[in-house]
């Protein structure tokens, strides 16, 4: 015979429709977002990985100081076990867009191009532009723009397979697809662009592909020796460390882990809420349960009955969420990546991973938590249920409260102690919601403040890196030198560190260069937790020579991992002749040095590109975080405080009969939640602050560069206010619920 208890379920659903509906919608939103994300992410990762073969992505590239002749190429290919492809590029400043554009010639063999719109360049004045660069500068197929003296026509919108993330230099902390872009032209077209800023770049493909990154590293270490011995190497980037190639793939993989972890934590919190709700229902229906058990219903049947609704809500939420995930949300999630990365086209594929992560695992979490709570509760004897005696400890003694404390305060304290599990879950829920909210609110202002701090602390308004020494009469210009070394601390990703040699008494960088120590930038200090007197070792990027440094002091320079020392010491350290320099720091623009002699000009735009790109990449998602945080906050507090009011309905009814006014009852049963919420808000906001700071520290271990996490007190206040306003709405609903509790509740049978 069919279990007659099933007939109760529709009624139970109707009675608690509001609660189940809110949780259902939350599940749909949560699972839909994560499912959409995983589907989009997995499909794009597949397309990205397939792209390595499809577009024949290089195993690395290097730049030589001058063009290699065919003999040299043969030698390098033979000794290095590689096939070389000419991949020259010219990098020009495009004044209409206030940015740099790197143009390549035709790419028919290696690092092929995915044309997403329009066509490949066919004429010498045509260019296929990177999609994001084109979009950021409002360029469409058929549009034209000037690259130095040449007028170019956009013939296609493209994704360059070796620039899925538009990193200008692989040592950059992040790319900036507004200030830097790439494009391809025909070989004739490429030749027609001026040669002033040509880069003799060669891509290579190993004759025998390395099996993994470890082997790739070994092979690249061998190859760099061959190249260094036979040519003047300017730059060398094996594929596995080329951020322009690997960053998007790594990021998509990491994001998937973060989203999934977030889903699991949220589902666990909701599972606890369900468990507490179910416990409260069991309390309410203990007479029924006792009677059913006494008449022969097994524990399993009772447990199954109380698990059906929460599990069904989750399952239906997961199904609807997945449908939305595969349809609407997938496109939205994909667009977040498409807004950041120059990825090739992809097709949506069924993802077993999405199904497992968004449906099976949450189902298992919900099942385990609810089952554990129910088994623990249902274990009691039928008689205990019939007697409504469900306390775990028989005849539990009340702990004493000082009777000098007013009865209303003691009453509130008793309510808090009675509902400790609810309030712990409220605390955890608020903590998570606050962390999400806090991150969402603090991200953009933090980047803005970081940008301001970079501009305030830049070494000089104009920094010129020279290809060769050149004199200038620009007022305020000061000679300096720069080079870079590689640092690799345990647990941190190896990264480039800029070393600056500064003249004594510099007007731009104030350091004491007399001692044997060096000054490190504030970013260096904060990222690696270095202190005065600490020593650290760095090595040549393309060599094995090591350098030992001792920290003598700090220089406030938040944008770059950098070391500052005196110019003489710098030259001595790197074996340059006295008087060597390759850089100018200047308060005014230098106009009397031939452009050909200037390798790079570093402006505040270069220094602030990280914050700009992060805002562009994550700006939308931070708004989602704020919305999600608020929803989670409201959901957790409302559901748990509603349980408290419902659990105490009989007591509320009794005190009403005694003559307590609604406001007095609210002051007992709702204000306790208010107190706990307020305390939780006050305590969790600094905790959320610490948590995000910790996450930043951990995240930056895997990234080059650094920016300090700092949330202003205003953001803390904003988080508190949003929490308080959200809670005010909940309190209003709770007040209404208290008011609606009938006086006749005490006249009812206990069920």
């Amino acid at each position: 015979m069919r279990d007659p208890l099933i007939k109760r379920l529709p009624r139970e659903l109707r009675e608690e429709l509001g609660k189940y509906l809110v949780i259902f919608l939350f599940f749909v939103m949560l699972i839909g977002s994560v499912s959409g994300f995983i589907v989009a992410d997995s499909s794009m990762i597949d397309a990205y990985e397939e792209g390595f073969e499809k577009y024949n992505i290089e195993d690395g590239n290097f730049e030589l100081a001058s063009e290699a002749d065919s003999d040299l190429i043969s030698v390098l290919e033979e000794k290095g076990g590689i096939k070389l492809y000419r991949n020259y590029y010219k990098e020009e400043y495009t004044s209409p867009f206030d940015s740099k554009l790197r143009v390549f010639g035709a790419r028919n063999e290696v690092d092929k191009v995915c044309i997403m719109e329009g066509s490949e360049p066919a004429a010498s004045d045509e260019i296929a532009l990177d999609r994001l660069y084109a979009r950021n500068h409002k360029l469409e197929v058929g549009g034209t723009f000037r690259l130095e003296e040449k007028e170019l026509k956009v013939c296609g919108i493209a994704a360059l397979s070796d620039y899925s993330a538009l990193y200008e230099k692989t040592s950059d902390m992040i790319f900036d697809n507004d200030k830097f872009g790439v494009g391809v032209m025909t070989d004739e077209g490429f030749a027609s662009v001026r040669d002033d800023h040509i880069h003799y770049s060669y891509s290579w493909i190993y004759n025998e592909k390395p099996a993994d990154d470890i082997e790739a590293k070994d092979k690249s270490e061998e190859l760099v020796k061959v190249l260094s011995e036979n040519a003047v190497l300017v730059n060398y980037i094996p594929e596995y460390i080329n951020q322009a190639i690997v960053f998007a793939g790594n990021d998509m993989g990491n994001d998937k882990v973060s989203f999934t972890a977030f889903l699991y934590i949220t589902v666990a919190v909701l599972a606890f809420i369900f468990a507490i709700t179910t416990e409260s229902t069991i309390q309410k229906e203990s007479g029924i349960i006792g009677t059913l058990r006494a008449t022969g219903y097994t524990r399993g049947e009772i447990i199954r009955h109380y698990m059906i609704l929460p599990m069904t809500v989750l399952l239906v939420g997961a199904v609807v969420g997945n449908i939305l995930g595969y349809t609407l949300l997938e496109k939205y999630m994909a667009s977040m990546y498409y807004d950041s990365y120059s990825l090739p086209t992809y097709t949506v594929r069924f993802s077993a991973e999405a199904l497992i992560k968004t449906t099976l695992v949450p189902f298992a979490i919900m099942f385990a938590v609810n089952l554990a709570a129910l088994v623990r509760k249902i274990r009691l004897s039928p008689l205990r249920f019939i007697r409504h005696d469900l306390s775990r400890k028989q005849r539990r003694k009340a702990f004493r409260l000082n009777t000098r404390i007013g009865i209303m305060i003691r009453f509130r304290l008793r309510i808090i102690f009675q509902n400790i599990p609810n309030y712990i879950t409220v605390f955890i829920g608020i903590f998570l919601a606050d962390a999400i909210l806090f991150f969402g609110l603090s991200f953009e202002p933090m980047l803005d403040s970081f940008r301001e701090s970079i501009i305030d602390n830049q070494i000089a308004e104009n920094i010129y890196i020279l290809k060769a020494p050149a004199e200038t009469s620009a007022p305020g210009a000061e000679k300096a030198a720069t080079d870079s070394l590689e640092i690799s601390f345990d647990g941190f990703k190896a990264e480039d560190v800029s070393i600056y040699g500064i003249t004594d008494g510099s007007r731009y960088v104030s350091i004491d260069s007399t001692g044997d120590g060096v000054y490190i930038s504030s970013a260096f200090r904060d990222k690696y937790s270095l202190d005065k007197g600490d020593s650290f070792t760095m090595k040549e990027k393309f060599g094995s020579k090591e350098y030992e440094f001792k920290v003598a002091g700090f220089y406030e320079y938040p944008s770059t991992i950098a070391v500052f020392t005196g110019l003489d010491r710098f030259n001595e350290l790197f074996g340059y002749e006295s008087g060597h320099y390759n850089m100018y720091l200047s308060s005014s623009e230098i106009t009397d040095i031939d452009d050909k002699l200037i390798a790079t000009r570093i402006t505040s735009d270069d220094l602030t590109k990280t914050s700009r790109q992060l805002v562009r990449s994550l700006g939308d998602i931070t708004k989602i975080f704020v919305g999600f945080g608020v929803v989670m906050f409201v959901l957790v507090i409302y559901l748990l405080s509603k349980i408290i009011v419902e659990k105490n309905a009989r007591s509320i009814s009794m005190v009403k009969i005694l003559g307590y006014t609604n406001s007095e009852i609210n002051s007992l049963y709702v204000h306790t939640t208010t107190i706990v919420t307020a305390l939780s808000l006050v305590l969790t906001i600094p905790l959320a602050d610490r948590l995000i700071a910790l996450i930043f520290k951990i995240v930056f271990k895997n990234y080059s560069g650094y920016f300090p996490y700092k949330a202003s007190p205003v953001i803390m206040l904003e988080t508190f206010i949003i929490g308080a306003v959200s809670y005010a709405l909940i309190a209003l609903l709770l007040n209404r619920r208290v008011k609606a509790t009938p006086l006749a509740e005490v006249l009812k049978n206990v069920e």
Binding site: S651, M654, Y660, L743, A744
Partner: protein
């Protein structure tokens, strides 16, 4: 007259399911009286008590207590009425489970500007040594004594008791009834007690017998005996 009940009617349900529970009740109770409402199940005695207590409302008729008309009172005024004038004792005790015995009584005391002394009352009720215990640590009789303590701590004019011994054994029932009698003597509260136990009528000043929503008998006891002498 302390309590005047006039032509009270009350029905539940609608259409074919409509049941008239009270069919026009007229009753007067003097201050300080113990009035026992007797009747079988469904006679309407608890409904009448709830209407007097302001936790249910009559369809028609009038109730006046110390000159105040209940039917003229809004929710706020009714709350104030219960706060000032009433003490309520139920069959199921309805103590607040997470408060200890003393705190349960203090919940009642909070409502009065001149409550009785809590410790003194707990001693009178024989609960002083149990004052730090939770309700579920006490026997049914002790819990009912706590409920009585909570009701009378504010020294109400009117003590309403709905089957106060319904869940208790014979001996405990007699103890509780004695306690109600003592309180009535000591503080002079008017007591209206609903019961289906016919023997209890002997401790009352006034006996009102209801059946099918109508008062069948309403008389003053000529000989009133103490609760300890009751037998059934």
């Amino acid at each position: 007259m302390f309590l005047e009940i006039s032509a009270i009617k009350k029905s539940f349900g609608e259409g074919e399911n409509r049941t008239e529970v009270l069919k026009g009740i007229d009753l007067s109770v003097e201050k300080g009286e113990i009035c026992v409402l007797l009747g079988p199940s469904g006679s309407g005695k608890s409904t009448l008590l709830n209407i007097i207590g302001g936790i249910d409302s009559a369809d028609s008729g009038s109730i006046t207590i110390s000159g105040d008309k209940l039917e003229d009172m809004n929710e706020k005024a009714l709350t104030n009425y219960r706060r000032k004038h009433l003490g309520y004792v139920f069959q199921q005790y309805n103590l607040i489970p997470n408060l200890n015995i003393k705190e349960n009584v203090e919940v009642g005391a909070y409502l009065s500007s001149s409550p009785l002394d809590t410790d003194e009352l707990l001693k009178t009720l024989g609960l002083y040594e149990h004052r730090h215990k939770l309700p579920n640590q006490l026997s049914g009789g002790q819990q009912q004594r706590t409920a009585i303590g909570r009701a009378i701590i504010k020294n109400p004019d009117l003590l309403l008791c709905d089957e106060p011994t319904g869940a208790l054994d014979y001996k405990t029932s007699k103890e509780i009834l004695s306690l109600i009698g003592e309180i009535n003597s000591k503080y002079g509260n008017t007591v209206i007690m609903v019961t289906h136990n016919d023997a209890i009528k002997n401790m009352a000043d006034r006996v009102v017998k209801l059946r099918d929503g109508v008062i069948r008998k309403n008389y003053l006891n000529e000989v009133k005996i103490s609760a300890s002498e009751l037998d059934w």
